[in-house]
């Protein structure tokens, strides 16, 4: 019974990992561009949720939506003002630009919100559901289900819609896409918006369950990279499976072997899997 409880907890955590990692994989797939500021986007999503609760008294539905919109706008702005320009530069400039952006966002958050840990009040979606002895905290349950739905939605958007085809066309061959009448700049701005927006909503969902401070982006950024590498760079379903797997392995190994060993096991399996399958679970070789 306890083991089932551990598995449920791991899957709920994994669904959120999947959601905030899917944005990172999207940008990689679209532009071969590594966004080191992705964890900071998640962190900003958490603070947007806090501001909505404090200023507007909004509930989870509202702050999730606002965080998604705010971060979508930020993602588009970051693309237009920064990425578009450095993308033409050398690889190192690309890497350092988002790394610099990450530090800028993190320390701006320190400046505005201070280093204190904050958390949302308990009243929002609090409580626990008991299904046949398995306890499911409502915040994590809602966050996990919404995250899974959004990740699937993002995948559908990419594979089943015209916009998705246009996005993928730009990723496939920029010049050919332009000849087909697709504007690559617009598509890539959209990709950044979607990526940041999904990070924002993932942050808002996590804010329901976890306390955080401006340095939280570091931890999430690292997790996102591992998920993306494991799932295969550029693959949204890959990020989904990898996110769930990592959540599950973390929870399981923490329970079975003790919390200080969980990262050894997660990263050990991660390295072993990359050794066997360098393109990741769902990546193209």
């Amino acid at each position: 019974m306890l083991l089932v409880q551990v598995i449920v907890g791991g899957l709920l955590l994994g669904a959120i990992y999947a959601l905030f990692s899917s944005g990172l994989t999207l940008i990689w797939g679209m532009m071969n561009f590594i966004n080191f500021a992705h964890g900071e986007f998640v962190m900003l999503g958490m603070y947007v949720a806090l501001l909505v609760v404090v200023w507007l008294g909004g509930g989870p539905g509202m702050f999730g939506f606002v965080a998604a919109c705010a971060l979508f706008a930020l993602g588009v702005a970051v693309y237009l003002l920064l990425i578009r320009h450095v993308a033409r530069g050398p690889m190192l400039a690309q890497i350092l630009s988002t790394f610099g952006l990450a530090l800028l966002l993190r320390y701006t958050a320190f400046w505005i919100f201070s280093a204190n840990f904050v958390s949302l009040p308990q009243t929002y979606l609090s409580g626990t559901i008991n299904i046949a002895g398995i306890l499911m905290p409502v915040p994590q349950l809602v966050a996990g289900i919404v995250a899974a739905a959004l990740t699937i939605g993002l995948h559908m958007l990419l594979t089943r819609t015209t916009i998705g085809s246009q996005l993928l066309a730009v990723a496939e061959d920029r010049a050919a896409a332009m000849l087909m009448g697709i504007r690559p700049d617009r598509m890539q701005a959209l990709a950044w918006g979607l990526a940041a927006g999904s990070a924002g909503i993932a942050g808002a969902l996590m804010a329901i369950a976890y306390p955080w401070s401006p340095s939280v982006g570091e931890t999430f950024g690292l997790t996102a990279f591992v998920v993306v590498a494991l799932g295969g760079f550029g693959s949204v379903p890959g990020a989904m499976y990898a996110g769930l797997m990592i959540g599950l392995i973390q929870a399981g190994s923490a329970y079975l072997f003790g919390p200080i060993y969980k990262d050894i096991i997660v990263y050990g399996l991660f390295v072993a899997l990359l050794w066997l399958r360098p393109q990741g679970l769902m990546g193209r070789a």
Partner: protein, 440 residues
């Protein structure tokens, strides 16, 4: 200064066509002149008020930033008490006077640095404070792991280091001559918990086993080891010990392990975000042990109460700080702190403040900024309980530099405040056992 100015002239003229020997002849008098001027300047009336510099290492950003910032405010209040006249706090040494009387009224100047909780950074910053900022004494460094590395630097350079509140045993007892520690340590805390458990058992509360949950750096490991050893000596079984990393983002597996073992008391030796996360996860997984004891630190962090007060009612914590009755010195100090930060002074910051005041007292008795004399004065420190703001039995350092008169109380969360509940004494609130958690 004068000498280096002379060197500067020498090297710049070297590049010109003027010969080397000529330059020396030219620059030597200048160097001497500049040197003499510098000496004259330092002998002037300025000497009387040359500040005494104290280098302070705390985590001002990063995971423990809130605790570091709170302690920074406390140190600033302590400096304010020493530097200006505060006759209303006259039982605190140096409060009634202005500055350090034995150093001609010299003021204390604080140089803060931020080690972010990284031991290697703490080491580098300690070196910088000593070699570049030329501080006369050091205070730090919150995380035991950071105090451990920073004190080694002070020892190497021969500059006195006052460990404000780090609890790990291994910081003192390395044969260091320049390290002093004002706070109680891991073994003191473990002994206090055992006395408390025995007391509770006598009152008929069931304590058949305890669980120990500790973050896995120097601080958590040291305290947990001491508790395990003390529990063994007092024949209280430790049902489970769970070491974990303080940067964990999910602790539900650990809470499930605790739930399975079902100990009567769970002791958390945790930093801030992790202690909040534990309280929230325990509620989510519906696990409420009869009693939770936080080993200060995370439970005393300014973020803890606003985040989880409504679900952690009755949680206990240790503290050597008590605000006390209106009109008392501690109450007035708390007022000063509150008007600066908007919050009550917490135990962690208060222990740092007490260590700071003990250092200031030694600086004054040294009557000089000579490191050897400061060290000597520190080793002769003998503060009585009535001269302290903390509930220690005094401040007196043994040969390892540890204050062997330090001790602690236990406090309990009621509403939005911790109240002193143990040991039983006048003015203390009544202990509630078992804790109510979120069921109130």
């Amino acid at each position: 200064m004068g000498y280096s100015d002379g060197r500067c002239v020498l090297s710049s003229k070297n590049n010109s066509s003027v010969g080397r020997i000529d330059v020396r002849i030219l620059s030597l008098p200048r160097a001497l002149l500049a040197g003499a001027l510098a000496i004259l300047a330092s002998m002037g009336p300025a000497t009387a008020v040359d500040p005494v510099k104290i280098g302070i290492l705390w985590p001002l950003t990063g995971n423990a930033a809130a605790a570091g910032q709170a302690s920074k405010a406390a140190a600033e209040i302590a400096a304010e008490i020493v530097n200006n006249k505060h006759p209303e706090l006259s039982n605190i040494p140096l409060a009634a006077t202005e500055g350090l009387p034995n150093l001609g009224g010299a003021k204390l100047e604080l140089v803060f640095v931020d080690h972010q909780g990284v031991p290697a950074t703490a080491q580098q910053l300690a070196t910088r404070l000593i070699t570049q900022d030329k501080v006369h004494a050091l205070i730090g460094a919150y995380q035991s792991s950071c105090s451990f590395t920073a004190t080694a630097v002070a020892e190497r350079y021969g500059i006195p280091f006052m460990v404000g509140e780090s609890a790990a045993l291994n910081i003192t007892g390395r044969g260091f001559k320049w390290v002093f520690r004002g706070t109680p340590i891991a073994s003191d805390y473990a002994a206090t918990y055992m006395r408390f458990f025995n007391d509770m058992k006598k009152q008929g509360n069931r304590i058949e086993s305890i669980a120990v949950v500790n973050e896995n750096t120097d601080y958590g490991t040291s305290v947990a080891e001491q508790i395990e050893a003390a529990a063994k000596k007092n024949s209280i079984p430790v049902a489970i010990r769970i070491p974990y990393s303080a940067s964990s983002t999910d602790v539900s597996a650990q809470v499930l392990q605790l739930k399975e073992k079902n100990a009567d008391v769970v002791i958390f030796i945790s930093y801030t975000s992790d202690s909040i996360l534990y309280m929230k996860s325990m509620k989510d997984l519906d696990y409420l042990p009869p009693m939770v004891i936080g080993d200060d630190t995370g439970f005393s962090d300014p973020s803890f109460i606003p985040a989880v007060a409504d679900i952690a009612q009755g949680a206990m914590n240790r503290s050597a700080w008590d605000i006390g009755q209106p009109g008392s010195t501690t109450y007035k100090i708390n007022d000063m702190y509150k008007s600066k930060t908007g919050r009550d002074l917490d135990d962690t910051s208060a222990r740092n403040m007490q260590s700071f005041l003990a250092l200031a007292d030694a600086l004054n008795r040294a009557g000089s900024t000579d490191p050897e004399r400061i060290r000597d004065a520190l080793s002769k420190t003998d503060l009585k309980p009535e001269q302290l703001m903390m509930g220690y039995n005094g401040v007196k350092f043994d040969e390892t530099g540890q204050n062997f008169l330090a001790s602690t109380y236990l406090i309990q969360l009621e509403g939005n405040k911790y109240r002193l509940v143990w040991p039983d004494r006048a003015g203390s609130a009544k202990l509630v056992w078992p804790m109510k958690g979120w069921k109130h």
